[in-house]
Amino acid sequence: MAKNTEKVLGLIEVILERQGKFTDQVEIQASLQSIGFRSLDFSELCIRMEEDTGRELNFEAVQIRKIETVSDVCKFIDLALKE
């Protein structure tokens, strides 16, 4: 499991709940499409993660071909937070 998974899952739930999209627990294997998590939500998640961790995400450090699932998001954030 990625290092920041718990935090990321919590933030995804907060972001989606605020839009009235999702009230259950977010499953790690869920597809982003199925839970209605979009690029705009991802942008918000990144800024919240940066605020939480006090560190800037480095997008260029991430080598992932595409993001389809919640798990991919967690992996992305982990890689982007690596030194």
């Binding site: 690029s39 705009l40 991802f42 919240r48 997008f59 071909r65």
Partner: protein
């Protein structure tokens, strides 16, 4: 280069027409129009439409190789000497000035006294309120409305300002007096109001500031904004360094955004 003027077109003898100009059927070119070389004006257009009030300058400049598509009306007192391309049924009111390579989609309505920087692109059905000030490399998508009156019909004239590299997506409305700083991004159907900080992403009826453009990513292609670095081929080579500098400036603004902005 020989001109091709349709027999049914009406060209004022005072209008200045360059070389290699094509003018379509039933188009009218009024006195103050200056049409440069290589311009195409399609059927049923009105170029240099006169107004009955004072203007700082009555000349209408249509720059080299511009293309005005059918049923478009451009008023006098406008300067498009840096080249304009329009779709069909475009209306541009007086005293509007644009930089180079101005692209205006079909059914646009640009009210008077507007200024546009270089390489601005408007998709179809955009309404630009009177006095709007728009920077360079701005994208306005279909059905975007830039307003200018906070309490109609009082005609209070509080136009909007959109700085360089701003993107306003489909169906959004920019409210009177709103200022969108460099590279800021309004998602579809947003109602933009107040001041939007550099690189901010806003959405919804309250223009909620949800993120920063440098964290906007397409999940399939993994392309990330700012958009400039992915779109260089769409712009002339001599604009590339300006675009990359703008992109860097917008990306750098994330540091302040992350630290200072409470979401």
């Amino acid at each position: 280069m020989k001109n091709q003027i349709a027999k049914t077109a009406t060209i004022s003898p005072q209008a200045q027409i360059g070389k290699g100009v094509k003018i379509g059927n039933f188009t009218i070119v009024h006195d103050n129009a200056i049409v440069a070389d290589g311009v195409t004006i399609e059927d049923y257009c009105t170029i240099g439409y006169p107004v009955d009030f004072d203007l700082p300058n009555r000349k209408l400049m249509i720059g080299k190789n511009s293309h005005i598509r059918s049923h478009s009306v451009i008023y006098e007192g406008c300067d498009f000497s840096g080249c304009i391309q329009t779709g069909h049924h475009v209306m541009v009111r007086e005293n509007t000035i644009a930089g180079r390579l101005f692209s205006v989609g079909s059914y646009n309505d640009i009210e008077g006294d507007c200024t546009f920087g270089d390489c601005v692109r408007l998709h179809g059905y955009v309404h630009v309120g009177k006095g709007s000030k728009i920077g360079s490399f701005v994208w306005l998508y279909s059905l975007v409305t830039l307003t200018n009156d906070p309490l109609p019909p009082l005609t209070l004239d509080v136009p909007v300002i959109l700085e360089d590299g701003v993107v306003v997506c489909l169906g959004s409305t920019v409210m009177p007096g709103a200022v969108m700083r460099k590279g800021s991004y309004a998602a579809a159907n947003c109602q933009v109001k107040g001041e939007i900080e550099m690189g901010a992403v806003v959405k919804g009826p309250e223009a909620e500031q949800v993120g920063h453009v440098s964290t906007l990513i397409d999940f399939k292609s993994m392309k990330c904004l700012p958009w400039m670095k992915h779109a260089l081929e769409r712009y002339p080579e001599d604009e590339h360094s300006r675009l990359l500098k703008l992109s860097d400036e917008i990306t750098a603004s994330r540091i302040n955004f992350s630290k200072d902005k409470k979401l």
